[in-house]
C-alpha cells in the first residue's frame, strides 16, 4: 500500500498531544528533585530546591509548547551565568585568587573541562598519559568522569551538548539573542567556519599528541577570563592573557552581539568540532520536512550556528555543526523543522498511521487501541524525548554550581556574605 502525500508529510514538530507532556514533566520534576537535593543540606539544599523548581518549570514550558526556545535558552544562559560566580568563588576561597601558580599545576589540582578532552584523548590513547595537570578521578571536573560524560553524550545528545549542557556556551547563546536584529551578516560563512573549526580540532589534537601540552588551554581558551589563568609574570604569560582577552571579547561577546550567531562555538571550540564529527552516534537529529518547507529562509537566519541553508534543507536536515538548540523551530512558519530519530526518514512511517487506520476501521476496541498507540507514540516522540534527555544531562551537570550560586545569593541577601562554607 502506497502512502499518500498527506501521510508522508508528518511534520516532525507536531506538538506532543496530551497527556505526554504532563507525564514527561512529572518524570523530569521527579529526577530534578533527586539530583538537585541528593546529599545537600542547609543553604545548599535551598539552592538545590530552587534550581530543581526552575529547571522543572522550564522543561514544562518546552514540553507543553512543543518547541525548546525561549525556555531552553533561559535554562542554558542561566546555568552558564551561575557557573562563573560559583567557580570563581571556590577558587578565591580555596587559594585566595583566580590565577594559577606553578605549584598548583605541579600538584595536578586543575579542574578538567570537556574542551580539554580534545587535546588529551590522543596522548591518553597512545602514551597512556594525561597531558593536563588535573586529577584523574574524584570530582566531576577530573579526567575519568569527564571522559565518561563525553562518551555518554555521544550516544545521547551528540552535538546537542553545545546548546544544552556546555557551561560556557550559554554566555554566547544568551548574548547572541540580545539584539533585535543582526548588524553583521555572517549567513554565508557557515561552510568556511566549519572548515576552520575542524582545522582547530586537528591542530589541537595533534599538537597535544606531539608535545604532551594542552595547547588549547595554554594559548587559545577564551574562557580563561571567567575561570582560571596562569599568573601573568613573564612576556609569554602576558601574551597568552592578551590572546585570552581578545578571543573572549571578540568571539564570545562582540561578534555574537553584532551577528546574532555563536561565533566562538562555530569557529574556535575544538570540542564542538569533535561532537560534530561524532554526531552520527546520537539517535537524535534536527530534521527538515522538505515537502512542507517553503524555502523562506527564516530558519537560516534564526540558526545561531549557521548550520542551515538551502542545500541542507533540501537534504532534509542541518549541517553537522547543528547544536540541536531548536531556535529554527520557532522561526519556521510551516512547522516543518523538528527533532527526529536519526535512523528514520521524516514522514516515512509512524505509529500514528497505524492508530489512524485502526480508528478508521471503527469499533470500541480498535478506537481504544488507537488512543493508546497515539499516547505512547507522543510520549516516545523525539520532540519530547530529546529535550528530556538533553535537559536532564544539562541539569545534572550544572546542578552543583547552579545550586551553589543560588545558595550564595540567598546567603548574600540574608547575611551580607557571599561565602558559603560547608553547605554540603
Amino acid at each position: 500500500m502506497e502512502l499518500t502525500n498527506t501521510e508522508k508529510r508528518v511534520a516532525p514538530v507536531a506538538r506532543p498531544s496530551w497527556p505526554a507532556p504532563f507525564v514527561a514533566t512529572l518524570a523530569f520534576a521527579y529526577e530534578a528533585w533527586f539530583f538537585c537535593m541528593a546529599g545537600r543540606s542547609g543553604a545548599a539544599s535551598i539552592g538545590g530546591m530552587i534550581w530543581a523548581a526552575f529547571c522543572a518549570t522550564l522543561f514544562a514550558l518546552i514540553a507543553l509548547r512543543g518547541r525548546p526556545d525561549p525556555a531552553r535558552r533561559i535554562f542554558f544562559s542561566v546555568s552558564a551565568l551561575a557557573f562563573i560566580p560559583a567557580f570563581v568563588a571556590q577558587l578565591v576561597e580555596a587559594r585566595g585568587r583566580m590565577a594559577l601558580t606553578g605549584a598548583e599545576i605541579a600538584a595536578s589540582q586543575l579542574p578538567f573541562c570537556h574542551i580539554a578532552l580534545t587535546t588529551s584523548l590522543l596522548p591518553a590513547a597512545f602514551f597512556r598519559t594525561l597531558d593536563f595537570p588535573s586529577q584523574l578521578i574524584g570530582t566531576r571536573a577530573s579526567f575519568y568522569p569527564m571522559l565518561t560524560y563525553w562518551l555518554l553524550s555521544l550516544v545521547t545528545v551528540g552535538r546537542g551538548w553545545c546548546s544544552w549542557v556546555c557551561f560556557y556556551g550559554g554566555i554566547e547563546d544568551g548574548l547572541s539573542a540580545l539584539p533585535r536584529r543582526a548588524r553583521l551578516d555572517l549567513g554565508n560563512r557557515g561552510p568556511g567556519f566549519r572548515r576552520i573549526n575542524a582545522a582547530v580540532l586537528a591542530f589541537v589534537a595533534l599538537a597535544g599528541l606531539g608535545t604532551l601540552v594542552p595547547v588549547y588551554c595554554d594559548w587559545l581558551c577564551p574562557f580563561k577570563l571567567v575561570t582560571e589563568y596562569a599568573e601573568p609574570a613573564t612576556l609569554r604569560s602576558y601574551l597568552a592573557l592578551i590572546i585570552f582577552i581578545g578571543l573572549f571579547l571578540g568571539l564570545v561577546v562582540v561578534l555574537p552581539l553584532l551577528s546574532k550567531r555563536r561565533t566562538q562555538c562555530s569557529i574556535l571550540c575544538p570540542f564542538g568540532a569533535l561532537q560534530s564529527l561524532l554526531d552520527r552516534l546520537s539517535p537524535f537529529r534536527v530534521a527538515v520536512d522538505a515537502s512542507a518547507c517553503v524555502s523562506c529562509g527564516a530558519c537560516d537566519k534564526a540558526c545561531p550556528m549557521i548550520a542551515l541553508n538551502a542545500e541542507t534543507r533540501a537534504a532534509g536536515g542541518a549541517a553537522s555543526s547543528c547544536v540541536k538548540c531548536g531556535s529554527c523551530f520557532s522561526a519556521c512558519p510551516k512547522g516543518a523543522i523538528g527533532y527526529a530519530t536519526r535512523w528514520t526518514k521524516v514522514g516515512r512511517f509512524s505509529a500514528t498511521l497505524l492508530a489512524r487506520r485502526l480508528r478508521e476501521k471503527g469499533g470500541l476496541p480498535r478506537r481504544l487501541a488507537s488512543a493508546l498507540i497515539e499516547a505512547a507514540a507522543a510520549l516516545l516522540s523525539p520532540a519530547l524525548l530529546f529535550p528530556f534527555t538533553a535537559m536532564t544531562f544539562g541539569m545534572i551537570i550544572s546542578t552543583g554550581f547552579s545550586s551553589e550560586t543560588i545558595a550564595r545569593l540567598v546567603k548574600l541577601i540574608l547575611t551580607g556574605s557571599f561565602a558559603l562554607g560547608g553547605g554540603r
Binding site: 500500500m1 529526577e31 533527586f34 541528593a38 546529599g39 580555596a94 606553578g102 605549584a103 599545576i105 605541579a106 600538584a107 595536578s108 596522548p123 591518553a124 597512556r128 598519559t129 594525561l130 597531558d131 593536563f132 595537570p133 586529577q135 584523574l136 578521578i137 574524584g138 566531576r140 579526567f143 575519568y144 568522569p145 571522559l147 565518561t148 560524560y149 555518554l152 550516544v155 545521547t156 604532551l212 601540552v213 594542552p214 595554554d218 596562569a230 609574570a233 609569554r236 604569560s237 539517535p283 537524535f284 530519530t341 512511517f349 509512524s350 505509529a351 498511521l353 497505524l354 487506520r357 498507540i373 505512547a376 507514540a377 516516545l380 524525548l385 528530556f388 534527555t389 536532564t392 545534572i396
Partner: protein, 525 residues
C-alpha cells in the same frame, strides 16, 4: 491491508525505544557514574604527564602519626597559633628532577613534598606567630666533599652521619614564604619556591636547577640522593629558625628536654630499621656529643631504571598469604550461628543490633533498632545502625528513585546519630566508633557523584580510627585507616589518601590483603 502499517509502526517503536533508552540512560548513568568512571580508570590506568605534575615519584617515605615529640617527650612551645600535629610529618616524597617542564613558567626544577598530620600554620595565612620550620639536608651520591655539621650553628643540635655528608640544605618555614637552598661551603645560595597548601596539609618545595651549580644540576642525570628531613618549631630570632627546647615549655621554646643537648627536632624521617626516638635520644651531654641522625636514601631516576625489581616475587607470596587468611576467615564465619544465638539472648540492645548487622541479618537488626528507639528515641547507636540498614536496603531497591529515597532516609538517621555522638561528651568510645563507622561505610559505598559524601566518609573513618587508637585497638585502627584512604581516593583527595596509606604502611601486624593493597600503591609495609 493492515500489515504494512503494522510493520512500519513496529519499526518506529523500535527506533523510539532507542530514544527512550537514551532518555532514561542519562539519569541512570549519572546515578552510577562514579562506579563507571572508577571502572574506566582501572581499565586505562593513565598517569598525568610527569613534567606537568612535578616529576615521577622516586621515593616516598611514611612517618608514623603522632610522633611529633622528638625523642618521645618534647612539648610544643606555649601560646601562639601552633597545635599538636602541625609539626608531625606523615609523608615525605622525592620527585625526579624535571629537565624541561612543558607548561608553566619554571625552568628545570626538582620537587620535594612533605605532608603533615594537621593543617600547617603559616604566617601568610594568619595562622599565628608559631609555625613549623623545615630543614632538609641533601647529600648527593658520589661526592667526597660535604659537611656533617649543621648549616646553622647550633641549629637543630644534631650531627650527621659521617658516611653521608650533606652537600645542600633547603630551609623553609611557615612564617615567611622565602624558602632557600644553600651549599655546604656557603658558596651557593638561591631562593626555593615553596607552596604551603593548608587545605591539603602539604608543603611543596621546588628547587630551581636551571641556573644551579654543576653538582646540584647533575641531579638531572638521575643521581641517587640522601635526605635528612627535620621539623622544628619556628623561632625567627634564632639561626636556622629552630626554636630551643628546655625542660619546661615557654612562649619561645619547647619543653620536655632531658638535657641542654636535647635535639630541637620535633619530627624527622627515619630510615628503615632506625627509630626516631633512639636517634633523637642518642646525645651524650656528659661527653658533649650531639645526637646522631641518619638519612633516608632516594634512588635516582637512572638507578631506578637499572635496578631489577623484587616486587613480583614478594607480591606472589602476599597473594598466597591473603588467600590463606581468607580461607581462615571463612572457617571462622561458621560460628555465625553461635553468635546469632548469643545476640538473640543478649540483654544489650547494642550487642543485639551490632551482631545482627554484622551478620547481615538486616531485618532482625532493624527490628531490634526500632525496639531500642521506641524505648529511647535518643539511642544514637540504634539510630546509626537503623540509618545504615535503611541505606543498605537501597541495594535491593528496584527503581532509581527508590534507591535514592532510601539512601536519603538512611542519612537522616545517620546524620542525627553523628550529631548526638559529637554533641554529648560522656559517651563510650566504642559507641562513638560504631556511629562513625555506620555513616562511614554508607558514605564510602554510595555514588559520590550524586551524594558527594565520600570525603565525609573518609573523615568518619579517620575519626573512628583515632578513637580506636586511643582505645588501643590496633587492628580496628588499621581497618579505619584503610577505609579512610579508600574513601579519600574516591573523593579525589589523593594527597589525603596517600597520607593515610603512608601511615598504614608504618603499622605492624597488618593483614596480608592490606599489605598487598599497600604494595600495589607503591608502599613497603
Amino acid at each position: 491491508m493492515m500489515h504494512k502499517p503494522i510493520i512500519l509502526a513496529v519499526g518506529d517503536i523500535i527506533a523510539k525505544a532507542l530514544l527512550l533508552a537514551a532518555a532514561l540512560g542519562v539519569p541512570i548513568f549519572f546515578a552510577n557514574s562514579s562506579y563507571i568512571a572508577n571502572g574506566i580508570g582501572r581499565l586505562l590506568r593513565l598517569e598525568v604527564e610527569p613534567s606537568l605534575s612535578g616529576g615521577i615519584t622516586l621515593a616516598e617515605f611514611a612517618d608514623p602519626l603522632g610522633d611529633d615529640d622528638g625523642s618521645g617527650k618534647l612539648e610544643y612551645p606555649l601560646g601562639g597559633g601552633i597545635s599538636r600535629g602541625e609539626l608531625d610529618i606523615v609523608r615525605y616524597a622525592v620527585r625526579a628532577p624535571v629537565s624541561r617542564p612543558v607548561w608553566g613558567e619554571t625552568g628545570a626544577y626538582w620537587q620535594l613534598e612533605l605532608s603533615f598530620a594537621k593543617a600547617v600554620s603559616t604566617g601568610l595565612a594568619g595562622g599565628g606567630f608559631r609555625a613549623p620550620a623545615i630543614h632538609i639536608y641533601i647529600g648527593i651520591d658520589g661526592t667526597s666533599s660535604g659537611s656533617i655539621e649543621s648549616a646553622f650553628g647550633e641549629g637543630e643540635l644534631v650531627r650527621f652521619d659521617p658516611k653521608h655528608p650533606w652537600n645542600y640544605v633547603v630551609s623553609a618555614d611557615g612564617w615567611s614564604p622565602k624558602a632557600a637552598i644553600r651549599s655546604a661551603d656557603a658558596s651557593y645560595r638561591a631562593p626555593v619556591e615553596s607552596d604551603w597548601d593548608i587545605a591539603r596539609r602539604r608543603v611543596t618545595l621546588r628547587i630551581g636547577l636551571a641556573k644551579a651549580p654543576r653538582l646540584l644540576a647533575s641531579l638531572l642525570a638521575g643521581r641517587r640522593t640522601w635526605h635528612y628531613v627535620m621539623v622544628g618549631a619556628y623561632d625567627g630570632a634564632r639561626a636556622g629558625r629552630f626554636a630551643a627546647v628546655r625542660e619546661f615549655a615557654g612562649p619561645h621554646e619547647g619543653g620536655g628536654a632531658a638535657d641542654e643537648l636535647c635535639p630541637r627536632v620535633f619530627d624527622l624521617i627515619a630510615p628503615a630499621g632506625a627509630r626516631q626516638e633512639s636517634e633523637l635520644a642518642s646525645e651524650d651531654s656528659g661527653r658533649g656529643e650531639l645526637a646522631l641522625v641518619l638519612p633516608v636514601e632516594a634512588e635516582g631516576a637512572a638507578g631506578l631504571k637499572a635496578k631489577p625489581s623484587a616486587v613480583p616475587r614478594a607480591r606472589e607470596s602476599l597473594v598466597a598469604e591473603a588467600a590463606r587468611e581468607e580461607a581462615r576467615a571463612k572457617v571462622q564465619a561458621k560460628d555465625a550461628r553461635e553468635r546469632e544465638a548469643r545476640a538473640s539472648s543478649s540483654a544489650s540492645d547494642k550487642d543485639k543490633i551490632g551482631t545482627f548487622f554484622e551478620l547481615g541479618l538486616d531485618d532482625r537488626a532493624l527490628a531490634a533498632a526500632n525496639a531500642a528507639l521506641a524505648r529511647n528515641a535518643r539511642n544514637f547507636v540504634a539510630l546509626a545502625y537503623r540509618g545504615a540498614i535503611v541505606a543498605r536496603s537501597a541495594m535491593e531497591a528496584k527503581t532509581l528513585g527508590e534507591k535514592m529515597r532510601l539512601v536519603a532516609r538512611g542519612y537522616d538517621d545517620l546524620d542525627a546519630a553523628v550529631a548526638v555522638a559529637k554533641a554529648e561528651g560522656a559517651i563510650a568510645a566504642l559507641d562513638k566508633i560504631a556511629v562513625f563507622l555506620c555513616r562511614a561505610s554508607v558514605s564510602s559505598a554510595v555514588p559520590n557523584d550524586v551524594f558527594e559524601r565520600a570525603a565525609q566518609g573518609a573523615s568518619d573513618f579517620a575519626a573512628a580510627g583515632a578513637l580506636a587508637a586511643s582505645e588501643g585497638d590496633k587492628a580496628l585502627e588499621a581497618r579505619c585507616l584503610e577505609g579512610a584512604a579508600l574513601a579519600f581516593e574516591k573523593a579525589g583527595l589523593g594527597e589525603e589518601a596517600q597520607a593515610r596509606w603512608a601511615t598504614l604502611a608504618a603499622k605492624e601486624g597488618l593483614p596480608a590483603a592490606t599489605r598487598l593493597e599497600l604494595m600495589d600503591k607503591g608502599f613497603t609495609p
